[in-house]
Amino acid sequence: MPNLAIERWAKSASFAPDAPVVLTLEGPHGPIVHAVTKAAAERGARVGARLTDARALDPALTAIPGDPAADGALVERLAQWAGRWSPLVEVDGDPSRLPGTGGLRLDVTGVAHLFGGEPGLVRDIRHRFAKTGLTSRVAIAPTAAAAWALSRHAPCICGPDVAARVAPLHVSALQLDPGIVRTLERLGLKTVAALIGVPRLALARRFRGAEDVVEAFDRALGRKPEPLTAIGTDPPPRALLKLEEPATHPEAASQALERLIPAFVRELEDRRLGARRLSLTGYRVDGSVAVASVATAIPSREPRHLQRLLADKAATLNPEFGFDAFALSAEWTEDLGAAQESLVEEPSGTRELARLVDRLTVKLGPRAVQRPQAVESYLPERASGWISALAKTEPVALPSAQRPQRLLDRPEAIDVIYATPEGMPRRFMWRRAIHDIARVEGPERIAPEWWRQPSSARLRDYYRVEDADGRRYWIYREGLIGDGRGGLPAWFIHGLFG
C-alpha cells in the first residue's frame, strides 16, 4: 500500500482533491515530508525531503502533521479484513514507526483456486482495496522476500523462476540496510542481476558484520526459509461464506451462521476436534470487520448447540455498509473423539450441565456465572473464592469450622455495645435496626495474613450471635484496644446463618 498515509488522510479531510498537501513528521532537523498528494508531487515535493526544501520549491504547499499511529491501526484493521482471502495474514513492517513500509503478507498456498486462480485473486484484492479508496500493489511469488521485492518494484505474479523475475530489480529490493544499498551502488552493483554475478565468498567477506547480503539474497531466491510469523502448523478450523452482493439486512449474520455451521461442524468432525472458543467474523465492504465470539465449557461440535450459542451474538453484528463475506472459525479447540451420547435421545448429565453453563455464560457474561473455588485461607472472604463456571475447579481442603450460609460482599460497619475490652457483644445496630443479642458464641480469632496484607491489618474476633427473634448473624470485632494498629476496635457484620 504505497500511498496509505495520504489516502487515509484524504478520506477524512475536506480538501479539494487537487490541493497540494503534504503530510509531515518530526525529524531530527525539523519536519520531514512523509506523504504527498498527487498535486504536491507534481510541484516537486518528494517523500523524505525536508519540509523547508519542499516549501522552497513551492511556497503554496500546505503542510499537515501526519499520524503514523493511526496509519498503523488502519493496517492492523486491514490485516484482519484480509483474513477473507487467507487465514494467515501478517503485517509486514511497522507502519507506525517506519512510515511508508505498510504492507500485508498473505500465505495464499492452496487458496487461489477459490478466487479463480492467482490472476483472479490479484484482481479481487486490487478491486476490493480500490473500493475502499486505497491503492494496492499486489505480487504473488514463491518466496516472501521475492513477493516483497516484486510488490514494491514490479507488481506481478511470479512463477517458479524467481531469479529471472528478481534479477532486473534494483538492489534495494532485497530489504537491505540503506547503508549497504549505498555501498553496493558505489561499487556499481545496482541490480540484483549484477549481484548474482559476484562470487558469494567475496560478498560475504565484504559485508561481514552488517546484515548479510548473501542471506537476503538467499531469502529472495528461496534458498533459505522465511516463515511468516503468523504461521501455525495447524490452521484453525474455519468455514468461509462469500456473498454475491453485500448484505445490509440485519438478519444477514444469523442467516450466514445457519449456512456456515454444517460445513464448520463437518471440518471439526474430520479433524476430531471440539470447539472451546469460536467466533463469527463478518467482513464488511468498507474494509472493516465485526466479530462475535463465544466460549464453551466443554469441547463441542454439536450443530444445534453451537448455533444456539452464537445466534444471539450474531444478531447484534452491525452490517453498516454491508457484509460481503463471513467466516466461522474456532480459535481454541480440544480433541474430541467420536462419541455417542446414548442409544436413546437422552443427553448425559455432564454434557447437559456444560451446555447449561454455556447458555448462561453467553447471555449473562462470564463474570455472572461462577463456581466456588476454595482458596486455602482462614479469611472467610478469601476462602470462598469464585471462578468462572467455564474454568476447571481444583479441590482444596478447607479448615472445618462453622461458617454462615451467606456472606456479605463487603463487611458492613455496625454499632455494638459490648463489654470492653474483649467481652461479649450485647446489642448491635445494623441498617438502623436494633438487635438485642440473646445468645452468643465466640470469639473465633482469625489473624491477618501478614505475608500478603499490609502491616496495619488487624486481627478479627468472630462471634456467632443470635438476636431475640432467633436470627443468627456472624459479626466480628476488628482489632484490640492498644494493639498499636489504629484507634478503637471497629465492629462489622459479615454473614448470616441459616
Binding site: 445468645r439 452468643v440 450471635v465
Partner: protein
C-alpha cells in the same frame, strides 16, 4: 430427607400428642412435599433473616449440582451465598442483573434434568415476576423433574403459580447442652399457607443432622389468634 410421615402438626397439632425427647425436640417431622418435584415459593418473613436457607438446604439432594441464582439486589441486601457454609460444594452461582435475567436463568436451569434443584432469590416485588413467570417455572419444573425454589426476600405475597408456598422465620434456637449461652440447633417457624394437595399449617421445627423435628414447646400452641394468610 426423613422418610415416612410421622406426624402432621400445625392445624391438627392440638390433637397430636407430642413426645418429649430429652433434648427439647419433639416428634420427628416430615416436610409436606408435593407428590412430584415442582415449584415452591418461600417467603422470608424478615428480609435480612438468613434462616430460610437452613430450611431449604436441608431438603436439597446432594447427588447433583445445584444452581443458585441471586439477583443483584438480593446479594447487596442479604449477602452472597458462602460455599463453606453450605452442605454442598457442587453448585453453580448466577449473579443476575435484575429479576428478568434471574428468572430467565432459573428457567434455563429448571429445564435441565442434570440439576438437583434450582434456587432463585429475588428481592422485593419485581415487575417481571408475575403469574405467568411463576407458572412457566412450575410447568418446566414438573416436566423435567427438577425441583425449583423461588425465594422472595422483602416481597409481598401476590398471585403465583407455585404449588407450595411457605413463610419462614428464624425462631430462637434450641438449648445448647454444652454451653447454655451460645446458640444451639437452629429452629424455624414455618407456615405453609398455600399448597396443592396438602392442608395449610404452621409448625415450629428444628433440624438435626438429617431430619426435621417439631419443637416440643410450641407444638400445641393455639392457632385461632394467628393471622391467616391466603393467596
Amino acid at each position: 430427607m426423613a422418610a415416612g410421615l410421622a406426624l402432621v402438626a400445625g392445624d391438627e397439632s392440638r390433637a397430636a400428642k407430642i413426645h418429649q425427647l430429652p433434648n427439647g425436640l419433639g416428634e420427628r417431622w416430615r416436610v409436606p412435599a408435593p407428590p412430584s418435584p415442582t415449584l415452591s415459593e418461600l417467603f422470608s418473613v424478615h428480609p435480612r433473616d438468613g434462616g430460610w436457607a437452613g430450611f431449604l438446604l436441608a431438603q436439597v439432594a446432594a447427588d447433583k449440582p445445584l444452581l443458585w441464582v441471586q439477583d443483584r439486589m438480593a446479594i447487596l441486601e442479604s449477602g452472597r451465598i458462602h460455599p463453606p457454609g453450605l452442605a454442598t460444594r457442587d453448585l453453580i452461582h448466577v449473579e443476575a442483573r435484575d429479576a428478568r435475567d434471574a428468572l430467565w436463568a432459573m428457567e434455563e436451569g429448571v429445564r435441565c434434568s442434570c440439576l438437583s434443584a434450582v434456587v432463585g432469590e429475588l428481592w422485593g416485588d419485581p415487575k417481571a415476576l408475575d403469574f405467568i413467570a411463576t407458572r412457566r417455572l412450575a410447568v418446566a419444573s414438573e416436566r423435567s423433574g427438577t425441583p425449583c425454589w423461588l425465594v422472595r426476600l422483602g416481597g409481598q405475597v401476590n398471585l403465583s403459580g407455585a404449588r407450595m408456598r411457605w413463610q419462614v422465620a428464624s425462631a430462637p434456637s434450641l438449648l445448647n447442652d454444652l454451653d447454655p449461652r451460645s446458640p444451639g440447633l437452629p429452629a424455624w417457624d414455618l407456615e405453609l399457607f398455600r399448597a396443592r394437595g396438602h392442608p395449610p399449617g404452621r409448625w415450629s421445627i428444628a433440624h438435626e443432622a438429617d431430619r426435621f423435628h417439631l419443637v416440643a414447646e410450641s407444638g400445641d400452641r393455639t392457632l385461632g389468634e394467628e393471622r391467616q394468610l391466603r393467596a
